[in-house]
Point group: C2
Chain length 333, copies 2
Protein backbone atom coordinates (compact mmCIF):
# COMPACT_ATOMS: atom_id res chain seq x y z
CA UNK A 1 0.00 0.00 0.00
CA UNK A 2 1.43 3.30 -1.08
CA UNK A 3 1.12 5.79 1.73
CA UNK A 4 2.10 9.42 1.70
CA UNK A 5 5.46 8.79 3.26
CA UNK A 6 6.57 5.99 0.95
CA UNK A 7 5.30 8.00 -2.00
CA UNK A 8 7.64 10.84 -1.16
CA UNK A 9 10.49 8.47 -0.42
CA UNK A 10 10.01 6.47 -3.58
CA UNK A 11 9.87 9.21 -6.15
CA UNK A 12 11.62 12.13 -4.62
CA UNK A 13 14.46 10.76 -2.53
CA UNK A 14 17.15 11.22 -5.14
CA UNK A 15 19.52 8.32 -5.44
CA UNK A 16 22.39 10.73 -6.03
CA UNK A 17 24.29 12.29 -3.17
CA UNK A 18 22.84 15.39 -1.55
CA UNK A 19 24.89 18.56 -1.31
CA UNK A 20 27.32 18.43 1.61
CA UNK A 21 25.50 21.35 3.27
CA UNK A 22 22.31 19.26 3.65
CA UNK A 23 22.47 17.81 7.18
CA UNK A 24 19.00 16.14 7.19
CA UNK A 25 16.96 15.91 3.99
CA UNK A 26 13.61 14.21 3.33
CA UNK A 27 12.27 12.06 6.19
CA UNK A 28 12.24 14.20 9.32
CA UNK A 29 9.86 16.93 10.46
CA UNK A 30 12.06 19.43 8.71
CA UNK A 31 15.17 19.66 6.58
CA UNK A 32 18.36 20.94 8.15
CA UNK A 33 20.85 22.81 5.99
CA UNK A 34 23.97 24.76 6.85
CA UNK A 35 24.17 28.29 5.39
CA UNK A 36 27.50 29.62 4.15
CA UNK A 37 29.08 32.10 6.58
CA UNK A 38 28.89 35.69 5.34
CA UNK A 39 26.01 35.01 2.98
CA UNK A 40 22.40 36.09 2.78
CA UNK A 41 19.63 33.59 2.16
CA UNK A 42 17.33 34.22 -0.82
CA UNK A 43 13.90 32.56 -0.76
CA UNK A 44 11.51 32.36 -3.72
CA UNK A 45 8.17 30.58 -4.22
CA UNK A 46 6.21 29.73 -7.35
CA UNK A 47 3.07 27.71 -7.91
CA UNK A 48 1.78 26.04 -11.07
CA UNK A 49 -1.87 24.94 -11.24
CA UNK A 50 -3.43 22.59 -13.80
CA UNK A 51 -5.84 24.48 -16.02
CA UNK A 52 -4.04 27.77 -15.36
CA UNK A 53 -0.31 27.31 -15.92
CA UNK A 54 -0.45 24.03 -17.85
CA UNK A 55 -3.09 21.64 -19.10
CA UNK A 56 -3.58 17.87 -19.14
CA UNK A 57 -1.59 17.58 -22.38
CA UNK A 58 1.56 19.04 -20.78
CA UNK A 59 4.12 16.25 -20.23
CA UNK A 60 4.66 15.47 -16.52
CA UNK A 61 8.41 15.72 -17.14
CA UNK A 62 7.98 19.27 -18.40
CA UNK A 63 5.95 20.22 -15.31
CA UNK A 64 8.69 18.79 -13.05
CA UNK A 65 11.34 20.70 -15.01
CA UNK A 66 9.46 23.94 -15.24
CA UNK A 67 8.41 24.33 -11.59
CA UNK A 68 12.11 24.20 -10.69
CA UNK A 69 13.15 26.38 -13.65
CA UNK A 70 10.77 29.22 -12.77
CA UNK A 71 12.02 29.24 -9.19
CA UNK A 72 15.69 29.13 -10.17
CA UNK A 73 14.96 31.97 -12.58
CA UNK A 74 13.77 34.10 -9.65
CA UNK A 75 16.94 33.19 -7.74
CA UNK A 76 19.00 34.12 -10.82
CA UNK A 77 17.29 37.51 -10.94
CA UNK A 78 18.49 38.10 -7.38
CA UNK A 79 22.05 37.04 -8.25
CA UNK A 80 21.80 34.00 -5.95
CA UNK A 81 23.38 30.58 -6.24
CA UNK A 82 20.58 27.95 -6.07
CA UNK A 83 21.03 25.47 -3.19
CA UNK A 84 17.91 23.75 -1.84
CA UNK A 85 14.31 23.25 -2.93
CA UNK A 86 11.14 22.13 -1.11
CA UNK A 87 8.21 20.67 -3.05
CA UNK A 88 4.51 20.82 -2.13
CA UNK A 89 2.68 18.50 -4.50
CA UNK A 90 -1.11 18.20 -4.50
CA UNK A 91 -2.36 15.32 -6.65
CA UNK A 92 -5.86 14.02 -7.38
CA UNK A 93 -4.59 10.43 -7.30
CA UNK A 94 -1.37 8.51 -6.97
CA UNK A 95 -0.39 7.85 -10.59
CA UNK A 96 2.98 6.07 -10.69
CA UNK A 97 3.78 6.85 -14.36
CA UNK A 98 2.99 10.51 -13.91
CA UNK A 99 4.99 10.71 -10.67
CA UNK A 100 7.99 8.98 -12.20
CA UNK A 101 8.10 11.37 -15.16
CA UNK A 102 7.45 14.40 -12.99
CA UNK A 103 10.20 13.38 -10.55
CA UNK A 104 12.61 12.68 -13.44
CA UNK A 105 12.09 16.16 -14.88
CA UNK A 106 12.53 17.70 -11.45
CA UNK A 107 15.68 15.74 -10.55
CA UNK A 108 17.35 16.38 -13.92
CA UNK A 109 17.27 20.14 -13.57
CA UNK A 110 18.10 20.03 -9.84
CA UNK A 111 21.14 17.85 -10.53
CA UNK A 112 22.23 20.11 -13.39
CA UNK A 113 22.26 23.15 -11.13
CA UNK A 114 23.60 21.30 -8.06
CA UNK A 115 20.44 21.95 -6.12
CA UNK A 116 19.10 19.45 -3.54
CA UNK A 117 15.45 18.56 -2.98
CA UNK A 118 15.32 18.68 0.83
CA UNK A 119 11.66 18.01 1.64
CA UNK A 120 8.06 18.92 1.11
CA UNK A 121 4.52 17.73 1.48
CA UNK A 122 2.29 15.50 -0.63
CA UNK A 123 -1.46 15.97 -0.37
CA UNK A 124 -4.57 14.85 -2.20
CA UNK A 125 -6.48 17.45 -4.22
CA UNK A 126 -6.56 19.26 -7.55
CA UNK A 127 -3.16 19.10 -9.31
CA UNK A 128 -1.06 21.97 -7.93
CA UNK A 129 2.70 22.18 -7.66
CA UNK A 130 4.47 24.68 -5.40
CA UNK A 131 8.22 24.94 -5.01
CA UNK A 132 10.10 27.10 -2.55
CA UNK A 133 13.73 27.46 -3.59
CA UNK A 134 16.61 28.73 -1.52
CA UNK A 135 19.74 30.37 -2.78
CA UNK A 136 22.71 32.12 -1.25
CA UNK A 137 24.44 35.36 -2.13
CA UNK A 138 27.33 37.13 -0.40
CA UNK A 139 25.97 39.51 2.27
CA UNK A 140 24.43 42.62 0.79
CA UNK A 141 25.04 41.58 -2.86
CA UNK A 142 21.50 40.47 -3.82
CA UNK A 143 20.36 42.43 -6.89
CA UNK A 144 17.17 44.41 -6.18
CA UNK A 145 14.53 45.65 -8.61
CA UNK A 146 14.86 49.11 -7.20
CA UNK A 147 18.39 50.13 -8.21
CA UNK A 148 17.92 51.40 -11.81
CA UNK A 149 19.11 55.01 -12.34
CA UNK A 150 18.50 57.38 -15.28
CA UNK A 151 21.24 56.79 -17.85
CA UNK A 152 21.63 53.06 -17.05
CA UNK A 153 21.52 50.74 -20.06
CA UNK A 154 18.73 48.16 -20.26
CA UNK A 155 19.61 44.60 -21.26
CA UNK A 156 17.78 41.34 -21.85
CA UNK A 157 19.61 38.03 -21.70
CA UNK A 158 18.16 36.37 -24.81
CA UNK A 159 15.38 36.11 -27.41
CA UNK A 160 11.95 37.24 -26.29
CA UNK A 161 8.47 35.95 -27.08
CA UNK A 162 9.35 32.37 -27.99
CA UNK A 163 7.37 30.78 -25.17
CA UNK A 164 4.32 32.90 -25.99
CA UNK A 165 4.57 31.92 -29.66
CA UNK A 166 4.90 28.27 -28.63
CA UNK A 167 1.75 28.56 -26.54
CA UNK A 168 -0.13 29.83 -29.62
CA UNK A 169 1.23 26.84 -31.55
CA UNK A 170 0.16 24.30 -28.91
CA UNK A 171 -3.27 25.96 -28.88
CA UNK A 172 -3.32 25.83 -32.70
CA UNK A 173 -3.80 29.56 -33.03
CA UNK A 174 -0.67 29.74 -35.19
CA UNK A 175 1.01 27.10 -37.32
CA UNK A 176 4.78 27.00 -37.58
CA UNK A 177 7.09 24.95 -39.76
CA UNK A 178 8.29 21.69 -38.15
CA UNK A 179 11.79 22.46 -36.83
CA UNK A 180 10.77 25.89 -35.54
CA UNK A 181 7.69 24.53 -33.80
CA UNK A 182 9.84 21.92 -32.08
CA UNK A 183 12.38 24.50 -30.91
CA UNK A 184 9.69 26.83 -29.65
CA UNK A 185 7.74 24.19 -27.72
CA UNK A 186 11.02 23.15 -26.10
CA UNK A 187 11.49 26.75 -24.96
CA UNK A 188 7.96 26.77 -23.48
CA UNK A 189 8.17 23.42 -21.70
CA UNK A 190 11.83 23.31 -20.70
CA UNK A 191 12.95 26.89 -20.05
CA UNK A 192 16.58 27.32 -19.05
CA UNK A 193 16.94 29.70 -16.12
CA UNK A 194 19.88 32.13 -16.44
CA UNK A 195 21.53 30.91 -13.28
CA UNK A 196 25.19 31.57 -14.17
CA UNK A 197 24.47 34.95 -15.73
CA UNK A 198 22.47 36.06 -12.68
CA UNK A 199 25.39 35.33 -10.37
CA UNK A 200 27.82 37.13 -12.71
CA UNK A 201 25.66 40.24 -12.60
CA UNK A 202 26.02 40.70 -8.82
CA UNK A 203 28.48 43.55 -8.89
CA UNK A 204 27.50 44.76 -12.36
CA UNK A 205 23.72 45.16 -12.62
CA UNK A 206 21.97 48.00 -10.83
CA UNK A 207 18.64 46.15 -11.01
CA UNK A 208 17.38 42.82 -12.32
CA UNK A 209 14.13 40.88 -12.83
CA UNK A 210 13.25 37.70 -14.63
CA UNK A 211 10.78 37.95 -17.51
CA UNK A 212 7.89 35.76 -16.48
CA UNK A 213 5.00 38.12 -17.28
CA UNK A 214 6.41 39.74 -20.45
CA UNK A 215 9.10 42.39 -21.00
CA UNK A 216 6.85 45.42 -20.59
CA UNK A 217 5.15 44.14 -17.44
CA UNK A 218 8.41 43.08 -15.82
CA UNK A 219 10.40 46.15 -16.88
CA UNK A 220 7.58 48.21 -15.37
CA UNK A 221 8.20 46.44 -12.06
CA UNK A 222 11.82 47.62 -12.20
CA UNK A 223 10.79 51.15 -13.18
CA UNK A 224 8.15 51.44 -10.47
CA UNK A 225 10.52 50.12 -7.81
CA UNK A 226 13.28 52.43 -9.09
CA UNK A 227 11.00 55.47 -9.69
CA UNK A 228 12.30 55.83 -13.24
CA UNK A 229 11.19 55.59 -16.88
CA UNK A 230 12.68 53.93 -19.97
CA UNK A 231 13.22 54.29 -23.71
CA UNK A 232 13.14 51.03 -25.68
CA UNK A 233 14.68 50.67 -29.16
CA UNK A 234 12.47 48.19 -30.99
CA UNK A 235 15.07 47.10 -33.55
CA UNK A 236 17.36 45.98 -30.72
CA UNK A 237 14.88 43.46 -29.27
CA UNK A 238 16.44 40.02 -29.70
CA UNK A 239 14.19 37.71 -31.71
CA UNK A 240 14.82 34.06 -32.54
CA UNK A 241 14.96 32.84 -36.12
CA UNK A 242 11.91 30.71 -35.27
CA UNK A 243 10.09 33.91 -34.35
CA UNK A 244 11.10 35.99 -37.38
CA UNK A 245 10.34 33.12 -39.76
CA UNK A 246 6.88 32.55 -38.26
CA UNK A 247 5.45 36.01 -37.58
CA UNK A 248 5.45 39.39 -39.30
CA UNK A 249 7.69 42.03 -37.76
CA UNK A 250 4.80 43.83 -36.06
CA UNK A 251 3.43 40.57 -34.65
CA UNK A 252 6.90 39.52 -33.49
CA UNK A 253 7.44 42.83 -31.66
CA UNK A 254 4.07 42.46 -29.95
CA UNK A 255 4.98 38.97 -28.75
CA UNK A 256 8.44 40.05 -27.64
CA UNK A 257 6.99 42.88 -25.55
CA UNK A 258 3.99 41.19 -24.01
CA UNK A 259 4.32 37.40 -23.95
CA UNK A 260 5.50 35.84 -20.71
CA UNK A 261 7.18 32.60 -19.74
CA UNK A 262 10.56 33.23 -21.42
CA UNK A 263 12.55 33.39 -18.17
CA UNK A 264 15.22 35.59 -19.66
CA UNK A 265 16.64 38.25 -17.35
CA UNK A 266 16.02 41.96 -17.82
CA UNK A 267 18.62 44.09 -16.07
CA UNK A 268 20.16 47.54 -15.99
CA UNK A 269 23.85 48.45 -16.01
CA UNK A 270 25.36 51.88 -15.49
CA UNK A 271 27.74 53.38 -18.06
CA UNK A 272 30.73 52.66 -15.82
CA UNK A 273 30.00 48.89 -15.70
CA UNK A 274 29.15 48.45 -19.38
CA UNK A 275 32.65 47.39 -20.36
CA UNK A 276 32.78 44.79 -17.58
CA UNK A 277 29.49 43.35 -18.80
CA UNK A 278 30.73 43.16 -22.40
CA UNK A 279 33.90 41.33 -21.29
CA UNK A 280 32.01 38.99 -19.03
CA UNK A 281 29.47 37.98 -21.65
CA UNK A 282 31.69 38.01 -24.76
CA UNK A 283 31.91 34.21 -24.78
CA UNK A 284 28.17 33.54 -24.42
CA UNK A 285 26.17 32.06 -27.28
CA UNK A 286 23.22 34.30 -26.42
CA UNK A 287 24.94 37.56 -25.62
CA UNK A 288 22.70 39.93 -23.64
CA UNK A 289 21.18 42.55 -25.94
CA UNK A 290 21.14 46.22 -25.02
CA UNK A 291 17.57 47.31 -25.80
CA UNK A 292 17.34 50.80 -24.38
CA UNK A 293 18.08 53.15 -21.56
CA UNK A 294 16.65 54.19 -18.23
CA UNK A 295 15.27 57.76 -18.11
CA UNK A 296 13.73 60.04 -15.50
CA UNK A 297 10.30 58.95 -14.30
CA UNK A 298 7.61 59.86 -16.88
CA UNK A 299 4.14 59.00 -18.15
CA UNK A 300 3.80 56.61 -19.86
CA UNK A 301 6.71 54.93 -18.10
CA UNK A 302 8.12 53.50 -21.31
CA UNK A 303 8.61 55.16 -24.73
CA UNK A 304 9.23 52.88 -27.73
CA UNK A 305 11.21 53.87 -30.84
CA UNK A 306 11.80 52.13 -34.16
CA UNK A 307 14.65 53.57 -36.27
CA UNK A 308 14.47 56.80 -34.33
CA UNK A 309 10.71 57.31 -34.77
CA UNK A 310 8.11 56.84 -32.02
CA UNK A 311 6.61 53.36 -32.28
CA UNK A 312 3.04 52.68 -31.24
CA UNK A 313 2.95 49.32 -29.49
CA UNK A 314 -0.07 47.17 -28.99
CA UNK A 315 0.27 44.74 -26.14
CA UNK A 316 -1.56 41.43 -26.03
CA UNK A 317 -2.18 42.06 -22.34
CA UNK A 318 -0.29 44.12 -19.81
CA UNK A 319 1.39 41.11 -18.29
CA UNK A 320 -0.48 38.03 -17.27
CA UNK A 321 -2.74 38.52 -14.35
CA UNK A 322 -4.45 35.61 -12.71
CA UNK A 323 -7.35 37.52 -11.24
CA UNK A 324 -8.08 39.69 -14.25
CA UNK A 325 -8.20 36.74 -16.59
CA UNK A 326 -11.45 34.87 -16.99
CA UNK A 327 -10.42 32.06 -19.33
CA UNK A 328 -7.85 29.34 -19.09
CA UNK A 329 -4.40 30.68 -19.85
CA UNK A 330 -2.25 27.62 -19.89
CA UNK A 331 1.40 28.20 -19.85
CA UNK A 332 1.28 31.92 -19.29
CA UNK A 333 2.30 33.27 -15.97
CA UNK B 1 -8.46 46.77 -10.62
CA UNK B 2 -7.00 44.26 -8.24
CA UNK B 3 -4.08 42.51 -9.88
CA UNK B 4 -1.97 39.74 -8.43
CA UNK B 5 0.69 42.10 -7.21
CA UNK B 6 -1.57 44.55 -5.42
CA UNK B 7 -3.48 41.61 -3.96
CA UNK B 8 -0.36 40.36 -2.25
CA UNK B 9 0.68 43.82 -1.18
CA UNK B 10 -2.72 44.73 0.18
CA UNK B 11 -3.43 41.75 2.36
CA UNK B 12 -0.10 40.29 3.19
CA UNK B 13 2.33 43.16 3.53
CA UNK B 14 2.10 43.41 7.30
CA UNK B 15 1.87 46.95 8.59
CA UNK B 16 4.10 46.01 11.53
CA UNK B 17 7.87 46.07 11.31
CA UNK B 18 9.60 43.05 9.84
CA UNK B 19 12.28 41.23 11.78
CA UNK B 20 15.62 43.02 11.55
CA UNK B 21 17.12 40.02 9.75
CA UNK B 22 14.75 40.51 6.77
CA UNK B 23 16.72 42.56 4.24
CA UNK B 24 14.12 42.49 1.40
CA UNK B 25 10.62 41.12 2.03
CA UNK B 26 7.58 41.01 -0.26
CA UNK B 27 7.96 42.87 -3.56
CA UNK B 28 11.12 41.63 -5.24
CA UNK B 29 11.87 38.41 -7.15
CA UNK B 30 12.92 36.84 -3.88
CA UNK B 31 13.16 37.61 -0.19
CA UNK B 32 16.59 38.22 1.30
CA UNK B 33 17.22 37.26 4.92
CA UNK B 34 20.40 37.11 6.98
CA UNK B 35 21.00 33.81 8.79
CA UNK B 36 22.50 33.86 12.30
CA UNK B 37 26.20 32.89 12.31
CA UNK B 38 26.80 29.42 13.74
CA UNK B 39 23.25 28.26 13.12
CA UNK B 40 21.64 25.68 10.89
CA UNK B 41 18.58 26.51 8.80
CA UNK B 42 15.48 24.33 9.29
CA UNK B 43 12.93 24.28 6.45
CA UNK B 44 9.44 22.78 6.67
CA UNK B 45 6.49 22.76 4.24
CA UNK B 46 2.82 21.99 4.76
CA UNK B 47 -0.17 22.25 2.45
CA UNK B 48 -3.87 22.49 3.29
CA UNK B 49 -6.44 21.80 0.56
CA UNK B 50 -10.16 22.63 0.66
CA UNK B 51 -12.23 19.46 0.79
CA UNK B 52 -9.33 17.53 2.33
CA UNK B 53 -7.92 19.47 5.28
CA UNK B 54 -10.83 21.85 5.79
CA UNK B 55 -14.21 22.54 4.23
CA UNK B 56 -16.16 25.59 3.15
CA UNK B 57 -17.53 26.05 6.67
CA UNK B 58 -14.03 26.49 8.16
CA UNK B 59 -13.49 30.16 9.07
CA UNK B 60 -10.89 31.86 6.83
CA UNK B 61 -9.21 33.18 9.97
CA UNK B 62 -8.77 29.62 11.24
CA UNK B 63 -7.22 28.54 7.92
CA UNK B 64 -4.76 31.44 8.08
CA UNK B 65 -3.88 30.57 11.67
CA UNK B 66 -3.63 26.85 11.15
CA UNK B 67 -1.41 26.80 8.04
CA UNK B 68 1.16 28.74 10.07
CA UNK B 69 0.58 26.69 13.24
CA UNK B 70 1.18 23.34 11.53
CA UNK B 71 4.43 24.61 10.03
CA UNK B 72 5.65 26.13 13.30
CA UNK B 73 4.79 22.82 14.97
CA UNK B 74 7.19 21.05 12.59
CA UNK B 75 9.86 23.64 13.41
CA UNK B 76 9.19 23.10 17.14
CA UNK B 77 9.67 19.36 16.68
CA UNK B 78 13.14 20.09 15.29
CA UNK B 79 13.97 22.43 18.20
CA UNK B 80 14.13 25.43 15.87
CA UNK B 81 13.26 29.07 16.48
CA UNK B 82 10.71 30.17 13.82
CA UNK B 83 11.91 33.12 11.71
CA UNK B 84 10.43 33.51 8.21
CA UNK B 85 7.48 32.12 6.27
CA UNK B 86 6.57 32.08 2.55
CA UNK B 87 2.97 31.67 1.44
CA UNK B 88 1.70 30.09 -1.78
CA UNK B 89 -2.02 30.82 -2.00
CA UNK B 90 -4.21 29.41 -4.78
CA UNK B 91 -7.69 30.91 -4.83
CA UNK B 92 -10.67 30.38 -7.12
CA UNK B 93 -11.50 34.08 -7.00
CA UNK B 94 -10.40 37.25 -5.31
CA UNK B 95 -12.76 37.50 -2.32
CA UNK B 96 -11.80 40.53 -0.20
CA UNK B 97 -13.65 39.44 2.97
CA UNK B 98 -12.12 35.98 2.86
CA UNK B 99 -8.64 37.37 2.18
CA UNK B 100 -8.88 39.88 4.98
CA UNK B 101 -9.88 37.25 7.54
CA UNK B 102 -7.32 34.75 6.25
CA UNK B 103 -4.56 37.37 6.39
CA UNK B 104 -5.62 38.44 9.89
CA UNK B 105 -5.40 34.86 11.19
CA UNK B 106 -2.03 34.43 9.54
CA UNK B 107 -0.55 37.72 10.79
CA UNK B 108 -1.76 37.21 14.36
CA UNK B 109 0.10 33.97 14.85
CA UNK B 110 3.16 35.20 12.93
CA UNK B 111 3.33 38.30 15.12
CA UNK B 112 2.89 36.25 18.28
CA UNK B 113 5.86 34.05 17.41
CA UNK B 114 7.96 36.90 15.94
CA UNK B 115 7.95 35.33 12.51
CA UNK B 116 7.96 37.46 9.31
CA UNK B 117 5.99 36.73 6.14
CA UNK B 118 8.70 37.34 3.54
CA UNK B 119 6.99 36.47 0.24
CA UNK B 120 5.08 33.98 -1.79
CA UNK B 121 2.90 33.53 -4.82
CA UNK B 122 -0.80 34.06 -5.46
CA UNK B 123 -2.42 32.05 -8.23
CA UNK B 124 -5.89 31.28 -9.49
CA UNK B 125 -7.22 27.75 -8.99
CA UNK B 126 -8.86 25.46 -6.43
CA UNK B 127 -8.34 26.73 -2.85
CA UNK B 128 -4.96 25.43 -1.67
CA UNK B 129 -2.63 26.98 0.89
CA UNK B 130 1.04 26.04 1.16
CA UNK B 131 3.46 27.55 3.63
CA UNK B 132 7.19 27.00 3.79
CA UNK B 133 8.56 28.08 7.15
CA UNK B 134 12.17 28.66 8.11
CA UNK B 135 13.68 28.35 11.52
CA UNK B 136 17.16 28.45 12.99
CA UNK B 137 18.89 26.22 15.48
CA UNK B 138 22.50 26.30 16.76
CA UNK B 139 24.71 24.18 14.48
CA UNK B 140 24.18 20.47 15.01
CA UNK B 141 21.45 20.90 17.65
CA UNK B 142 18.36 20.10 15.57
CA UNK B 143 16.42 17.25 17.21
CA UNK B 144 16.06 14.26 14.86
CA UNK B 145 13.44 11.52 14.83
CA UNK B 146 16.16 8.94 14.87
CA UNK B 147 17.82 9.38 18.28
CA UNK B 148 15.55 7.32 20.59
CA UNK B 149 17.40 4.61 22.54
CA UNK B 150 16.01 1.67 24.55
CA UNK B 151 15.39 2.87 28.10
CA UNK B 152 14.52 6.44 27.08
CA UNK B 153 11.29 7.81 28.53
CA UNK B 154 8.49 8.79 26.14
CA UNK B 155 6.68 12.07 26.71
CA UNK B 156 3.85 13.98 25.11
CA UNK B 157 3.46 17.72 25.64
CA UNK B 158 -0.29 17.88 26.32
CA UNK B 159 -3.77 16.36 26.01
CA UNK B 160 -4.32 14.06 23.05
CA UNK B 161 -7.33 13.49 20.83
CA UNK B 162 -9.10 16.82 21.34
CA UNK B 163 -8.84 17.92 17.70
CA UNK B 164 -10.16 14.55 16.51
CA UNK B 165 -13.06 14.76 18.91
CA UNK B 166 -13.75 18.31 17.73
CA UNK B 167 -13.85 17.09 14.14
CA UNK B 168 -16.50 14.52 15.11
CA UNK B 169 -18.47 17.33 16.75
CA UNK B 170 -18.27 19.63 13.71
CA UNK B 171 -19.37 16.68 11.57
CA UNK B 172 -22.20 16.00 14.04
CA UNK B 173 -21.06 12.44 14.70
CA UNK B 174 -20.83 13.23 18.41
CA UNK B 175 -22.60 15.85 20.49
CA UNK B 176 -20.80 17.55 23.35
CA UNK B 177 -21.99 19.93 26.01
CA UNK B 178 -21.64 23.62 25.16
CA UNK B 179 -18.46 24.77 26.94
CA UNK B 180 -16.58 21.57 26.03
CA UNK B 181 -17.61 21.77 22.38
CA UNK B 182 -16.37 25.35 22.24
CA UNK B 183 -13.03 24.42 23.82
CA UNK B 184 -12.55 21.46 21.52
CA UNK B 185 -13.38 23.31 18.30
CA UNK B 186 -10.92 26.00 19.37
CA UNK B 187 -8.25 23.27 19.68
CA UNK B 188 -9.10 22.03 16.15
CA UNK B 189 -9.19 25.43 14.44
CA UNK B 190 -6.55 27.34 16.38
CA UNK B 191 -3.90 24.84 17.47
CA UNK B 192 -1.02 26.26 19.49
CA UNK B 193 2.32 24.94 18.26
CA UNK B 194 4.75 24.06 21.10
CA UNK B 195 7.37 26.52 19.93
CA UNK B 196 9.00 27.38 23.27
CA UNK B 197 8.99 23.79 24.51
CA UNK B 198 10.60 22.55 21.26
CA UNK B 199 13.50 24.97 21.66
CA UNK B 200 13.92 24.00 25.33
CA UNK B 201 14.22 20.34 24.35
CA UNK B 202 17.33 20.89 22.18
CA UNK B 203 19.88 19.45 24.56
CA UNK B 204 17.40 17.26 26.44
CA UNK B 205 15.33 15.18 23.99
CA UNK B 206 16.94 12.30 22.11
CA UNK B 207 14.17 12.40 19.47
CA UNK B 208 11.09 14.48 18.77
CA UNK B 209 8.13 14.64 16.38
CA UNK B 210 4.92 16.65 16.31
CA UNK B 211 1.66 14.75 16.51
CA UNK B 212 -0.14 15.60 13.30
CA UNK B 213 -1.24 12.10 12.26
CA UNK B 214 -2.02 10.64 15.70
CA UNK B 215 0.20 9.41 18.55
CA UNK B 216 0.62 5.85 17.28
CA UNK B 217 1.41 6.86 13.70
CA UNK B 218 3.85 9.57 14.74
CA UNK B 219 5.53 7.55 17.50
CA UNK B 220 6.00 4.82 14.90
CA UNK B 221 7.93 7.32 12.77
CA UNK B 222 10.29 7.87 15.71
CA UNK B 223 10.60 4.12 16.36
CA UNK B 224 11.24 3.26 12.71
CA UNK B 225 13.85 5.99 12.36
CA UNK B 226 15.44 4.94 15.67
CA UNK B 227 15.13 1.17 15.06
CA UNK B 228 13.44 0.68 18.43
CA UNK B 229 10.13 -0.36 20.01
CA UNK B 230 7.97 1.12 22.79
CA UNK B 231 5.75 0.28 25.75
CA UNK B 232 2.86 2.69 26.33
CA UNK B 233 1.04 2.97 29.68
CA UNK B 234 -2.55 3.78 28.80
CA UNK B 235 -3.48 5.35 32.13
CA UNK B 236 -0.70 7.92 31.67
CA UNK B 237 -2.13 9.32 28.41
CA UNK B 238 -3.11 12.94 29.11
CA UNK B 239 -6.79 13.54 28.37
CA UNK B 240 -8.65 16.82 28.64
CA UNK B 241 -11.68 17.21 30.85
CA UNK B 242 -13.66 17.91 27.68
CA UNK B 243 -12.57 14.50 26.40
CA UNK B 244 -13.27 12.50 29.57
CA UNK B 245 -16.65 14.18 30.03
CA UNK B 246 -17.70 13.47 26.43
CA UNK B 247 -16.45 9.95 25.65
CA UNK B 248 -16.19 6.64 27.51
CA UNK B 249 -12.70 5.64 28.63
CA UNK B 250 -12.25 3.16 25.80
CA UNK B 251 -13.41 5.69 23.19
CA UNK B 252 -11.19 8.36 24.70
CA UNK B 253 -8.12 6.11 24.54
CA UNK B 254 -8.88 5.30 20.92
CA UNK B 255 -9.08 9.01 20.06
CA UNK B 256 -5.93 9.78 22.03
CA UNK B 257 -3.97 7.11 20.17
CA UNK B 258 -5.24 7.58 16.64
CA UNK B 259 -6.68 11.04 16.06
CA UNK B 260 -4.42 13.59 14.40
CA UNK B 261 -4.25 17.36 14.32
CA UNK B 262 -3.36 17.95 17.98
CA UNK B 263 0.12 19.36 17.27
CA UNK B 264 1.45 18.33 20.63
CA UNK B 265 5.06 17.12 20.65
CA UNK B 266 6.02 13.50 21.29
CA UNK B 267 9.64 13.16 22.43
CA UNK B 268 12.04 10.84 24.18
CA UNK B 269 14.43 11.66 27.02
CA UNK B 270 17.13 9.46 28.46
CA UNK B 271 17.26 8.67 32.20
CA UNK B 272 20.15 11.08 32.68
CA UNK B 273 18.17 14.06 31.32
CA UNK B 274 14.90 13.32 33.06
CA UNK B 275 15.61 15.60 36.01
CA UNK B 276 16.52 18.49 33.71
CA UNK B 277 13.23 18.05 31.87
CA UNK B 278 11.24 18.03 35.12
CA UNK B 279 12.94 21.25 36.26
CA UNK B 280 12.48 22.92 32.93
CA UNK B 281 8.79 22.14 32.65
CA UNK B 282 7.79 22.47 36.31
CA UNK B 283 6.21 25.88 35.69
CA UNK B 284 4.16 24.89 32.64
CA UNK B 285 0.37 24.70 32.83
CA UNK B 286 0.39 21.61 30.61
CA UNK B 287 3.34 19.69 31.98
CA UNK B 288 4.57 17.04 29.54
CA UNK B 289 3.26 13.59 30.51
CA UNK B 290 5.52 10.56 30.64
CA UNK B 291 3.51 7.89 28.81
CA UNK B 292 5.96 5.01 28.43
CA UNK B 293 9.41 3.85 27.58
CA UNK B 294 11.49 3.02 24.51
CA UNK B 295 12.40 -0.67 24.19
CA UNK B 296 14.44 -2.82 21.83
CA UNK B 297 12.99 -3.13 18.35
CA UNK B 298 10.09 -5.63 18.35
CA UNK B 299 6.93 -6.66 16.51
CA UNK B 300 4.46 -5.11 16.91
CA UNK B 301 6.54 -2.00 17.48
CA UNK B 302 4.36 -0.80 20.34
CA UNK B 303 2.93 -2.72 23.31
CA UNK B 304 0.11 -1.10 25.27
CA UNK B 305 -0.61 -1.72 28.97
CA UNK B 306 -3.45 -0.62 31.26
CA UNK B 307 -2.79 -1.03 35.00
CA UNK B 308 -0.06 -3.54 34.25
CA UNK B 309 -2.17 -5.74 31.93
CA UNK B 310 -1.81 -5.92 28.14
CA UNK B 311 -4.35 -3.60 26.54
CA UNK B 312 -5.83 -4.35 23.15
CA UNK B 313 -6.09 -1.10 21.22
CA UNK B 314 -8.34 -0.48 18.28
CA UNK B 315 -7.19 2.39 16.13
CA UNK B 316 -9.57 4.49 14.08
CA UNK B 317 -7.00 4.46 11.31
CA UNK B 318 -3.26 4.04 11.40
CA UNK B 319 -2.65 7.75 11.00
CA UNK B 320 -4.29 9.78 8.34
CA UNK B 321 -3.17 8.96 4.86
CA UNK B 322 -4.20 11.07 1.92
CA UNK B 323 -3.86 8.38 -0.71
CA UNK B 324 -5.47 5.56 1.24
CA UNK B 325 -8.51 7.63 2.03
CA UNK B 326 -11.35 7.78 -0.45
CA UNK B 327 -13.71 10.21 1.23
CA UNK B 328 -13.36 13.75 2.31
CA UNK B 329 -11.49 13.97 5.60
CA UNK B 330 -11.71 17.60 6.53
CA UNK B 331 -9.49 18.69 9.29
CA UNK B 332 -7.49 15.49 9.55
CA UNK B 333 -3.96 15.45 8.38
Amino acid sequence: MLNEFSLIQRYFANEKAQRADVKFGIGDDGAVTRPLPGHDLVTVTDTMVEGVHFDHSTPARAIGHKIIAVNLSDLAAMGAEPCWVSLALTLPESNPEWLQEFAAGLHEICDYYNCSLIGGDTTRGPLTVTVTAHGQVPEGEAIPRSGAKPGDWIYVSGPLGDAGLALDITQQKISARGPYAQHLIERLHYPGPRVALGQSLRSIASSCIDISDGLVADLQHILEASKAGADIIMEELPLSLAMTETLTQAEAYKKALSAGDDYELCFTVDEHNRGRLETLTAHLKDKPACIGRVTQNKQPLIHFKLHGEPYEVQLEQAGYNHFMSSGSDQGNR
